[in-house]
């Protein structure tokens, strides 16, 4: 391997002439970035050249496709709570980021993506690998900016990090022309950004709304908490738990909020939405006060809006005021970061125990166990179910693993049944529903939380969308456990075709390669099991294996995920079969 003599890596203390590319690297170091995911190319070569001198301080993970790079950045950010950083070159490199940007935008994931761009004098000339990435990414970024002059780089990157992580987090793309990367300029140090005059990351908390909210909660007979990822984004898990426990109110979660309160907490009544639990969905239409915390009433959560919680008075806590009243009319809008608003509310709510009301959730849960859960987790059928795999995994990890799921039936099963003891343990593509997300996101999650076990639960369809990232695992040595639940179908589409298209299974029968052999080609150990008696041992082997491991479990072909709120139905019309 080629090596280059390491230069001194101390940051310049006074004005020094450096290149724009070096300024990029110094900015990342100042922002305490430890890992970057990326793929080099012509227009970002100067940045990669500068990186070569700093590899002792900045870890770079070479991915196999920019989409893999950005999903890895997302996994890193979601597991660590830090900003994910991604490098890509111009043209196709940059356009390959678009899916990940859209995913990060809708799931509020903090990212700073740096794309190379052609020389400034070539902009607009259809130069080789030139694309107008700023206009392409405008709808899918929180902010984006093009730099054509190196002198701007320190300030622009400082703004990028500030915007990405403050308020409601989101992805930022900084496009840097090649001349700006090569240009030498007088660098006089890096100032982190604390404020931008035309950007208000969080609204001012208004005490009158806290008072009104507390009053409603104290009068309520059947209050119900819905929480989302906002609790984790605000690092308000402790404050949230204090509120839940003092108020005694049952609480249910969106898939993005999973894990903010441990799965086994007595007031955690389960998952909301289309494939959520029976009780929380039905009782949404019975509660008298609905307290939504850091969630955005996505259509997968609400079902039909005109039949959603019409009887309830709604309190909505959110850092983004435009989310309040966007989909569901709200009685009390509590603007603000829930880390600030929750303690104010907890202070004012009376300590209560809603025992009888909680009991109602439990009764529905018993019905669900009998109709769905028992057979899903402890099947009597010959073939294995996705649920029993997740159940076995729970027993072996004790609920301590980070579970990264892809998109489809297995995602709903993983989110429903995975036992999560810790926050930031459920990483999935919630809003965009990006198949191919899990493998690269799991790699990123391992870098974001190296001390934790990371298990990626992936379907046979999604795995084939980004399986090139096995190469990244091979080269980087990321210890990721890959659990493929293979039902030889694009299962969720097949389920919909069964239920709503008269079993016309149009192009959902997907053939797959021998995944174990594919993994073997990348030097990754693996195994495929199709018999129940082999499952536990195989899972154990996967978890105890030193390094990454691929386990394929052949599960039943035509299993459906229930309960289900059919599209166009109210949440209380949730079906058990």
């Amino acid at each position: 391997m080629l090596t280059k003599e390491k230069q001194a890596t101390a940051l310049p203390k006074q004005a020094t002439s450096i290149s724009g590319a070096e300024a990029v690297i110094l900015a990342l170091l100042e922002e305490k970035v430890d890992t970057v995911f990326g793929y080099p190319g012509g227009a970002i070569m100067p940045v990669y050249d500068a990186l070569f001198d700093y590899t002792d301080r900045l870890n770079h993970v070479l991915v196999r496709h920019e989409q893999g790079g950005i999903h890895a950045g997302q996994g890193y950010a979601r597991a660590s709570g830090k900003v994910g950083v991604v490098f890509a070159t111009s043209g196709p490199g940059a356009t390959n980021l678009v899916t990940g940007l859209a995913d990060a935008q809708i799931d509020s994931t903090p990212l700073v993506c740096i794309s190379g761009q052609v020389y400034a004098h070539l902009l607009g000339t259809d130069a080789f690998q030139e694309i107008d990435i700023l206009n392409i990414t405008t709808p899918v970024t929180k902010w984006n900016y093009q730099v054509a002059n190196a002198e701007e780089i320190p300030d622009v990157l400082a703004k990028a990090f500030y915007i990405a992580k403050s308020g409601r987090p989101g992805p930022v793309l900084i496009d840097i022309t090649k001349n700006a990367q090569l240009q030498q300029f007088e660098f006089s140090g890096y100032q982190p950004c604390q404020h931008i005059r035309s950007y208000r990351p969080k609204p001012v908390v208004r005490q009158e709304y806290i008072l009104q909210a507390a009053e409603l909660i104290n009068q309520a007979q059947k209050p119900f908490i819905l929480w989302g990822q906002g609790v984790m984004l605000g690092a308000a898990e402790k404050e949230f738990r204090a509120f839940v426990e003092k108020s005694g109110i049952p609480a249910a979660w969106t898939i993005m909020g999973a894990g903010a309160l441990p799965s086994r907490h007595p007031q955690n009544v389960g998952m909301l939405g289309m494939h959520g639990n029976y009780g929380p969905n039905v009782l949404t239409n019975e509660c008298d006060v609905l307290i939504a915390i850091g969630m955005r009433f996505d259509d997968r959560v609400t079902g039909r809006l005109d039949k959603y919680a019409r009887q309830a008075r709604i309190i909505h806590l959110d850092i983004d005021p435009t989310e309040i009243g966007k989909n569901v009319p709200v009685t009390v809008p509590v603007w603000g970061d829930c880390k600030e608003t929750l303690p104010l509310l907890t202070e004012l709510v009376e300590p209560r125990q809603h025992t009888a009301w909680l009991q109602q959730f439990r009764r529905y849960n018993e019905q669900e166990i009998e109709a769905v859960i028992q057979e899903e987790l402890f099947p009597t059928s010959e073939e294995m179910t996705m649920g029993e795999v997740v159940q076995q995994l729970n027993e072996l990890t004790g609920g301590d693993a980070i579970v990264v799921s892809d998109v489809g039936q297995h995602q709903m099963v993983a989110c429903r049944y995975a036992s999560l003891n810790h926050t930031r343990s459920n990483i999935t593509s919630g809003g965009l529903g990006t198949m191919g997300f899990a493998l690269p996101a799991a790699i990123g999650a391992k870098y974001g939380a190296p001390e934790r076990t990371v298990v990626a639960v992936i379907g046979d369809g999604g795995f084939q969308m980004t399986l090139q990232e096995l190469g990244t695992i091979m080269q980087s040595g990321a210890d990721v456990k890959l659990l493929i639940l293979n039902n030889r179908f694009l299962g969720m589409v097949r389920q919909w075709q069964e239920l709503f298209h008269e079993r016309r299974y149009s192009f959902v029968d997907i053939a797959s390669p021998d995944f174990v052999k594919v993994a073997d080609g990348y030097g990754i150990s693996g195994k495929s099991v199709s018999k129940r008696e082999e499952l536990r041992g195989a899972l154990q082997q996967m978890l105890s294996h030193q390094g990454s491991y691929l386990l394929e479990v052949m599960v039943t072909k035509e299993n459906n995920v229930f309960p289900m709120v059919p599209q166009g139905c109210s949440v209380s019309e949730i079906r058990l079969s």
Partner: protein, 202 residues
């Protein structure tokens, strides 16, 4: 905040104060286009305070939709403030230019009278044509258009609407204070665009 009472669509004037940043126009335009909402008129120009731009956008929608759109615009990085008002809440004007053959105007006294009645004034008088200008509400500028059409209208153009909010002290003082406490950044444009031959390319 239930919206049963807000299903009636009407004309709204959205006023947006922004930084003078490249790309912000696209960001604002996307907020309309992704919802498949048509913008009837859009004017953007420097405000009275250096570095701050003012957009005037006209759209026909329900109050509820306009409120949500205004919120979406205001949350963009680079946007300072958004107001939305009905036509009753603003003083508004559009400007129109009309190009007509000079001989008709010069020869026919009736045209001159019509122009005067419509408050038009000549901007340019040439041998072959004359350009008139009038400002007012849509029906006023439309009216002159109808009047001039029989006399051989050659060209017509109407500006976007500009509007001033009636019921407020205005944003002027706040803008000035704002600019004074936190001066704007200089816009960095592409200085290399026209120096293609002189710049080394790898």
């Amino acid at each position: 905040m239930r919206n049963e009472n807000h299903t009636q669509k009407e004309e709204f004037n959205i006023t947006v104060y922004t930084e003078n940043h490249i790309g912000l126009l696209t960001r604002i335009a996307i907020i309309f286009s992704r919802r498949k909402i048509n913008v009837e008129s859009l004017n953007t120009s420097p405000s009275e305070v250096e570095g701050i731009h003012r957009f005037s956008i006209v759209m026909t929608e329900t109050a509820e939709t306009v409120r949500k759109i205004a919120g979406q615009i205001e949350k963009q990085v680079g946007v300072l403030k958004v107001y939305f008002n009905t036509n009753q809440d603003v003083v508004w004007q559009e400007m129109a230019l009309y190009k007509v053959p000079t001989d008709v105007i010069a020869e026919r006294a009736v045209v001159e009278r019509l122009l005067r009645e419509n408050g038009a004034r000549a901007v340019v008088i040439r041998k072959d044509y004359t350009v008139f200008e009038t400002t007012g509400h849509r029906e006023e500028t439309d009216n002159l258009l109808r009047v001039l059409e029989p006399y051989g209208l050659i060209e017509f153009v109407r500006s976007a609407r500009i509007a001033i909010i009636k019921d407020s002290e205005g944003f002027h003082r706040k803008l000035q204070e704002f600019e004074q406490s936190e001066p704007h950044d200089e816009v960095v444009e592409n200085e290399y665009l026209s120096s293609r031959e002189k710049v080394f390319t790898m």
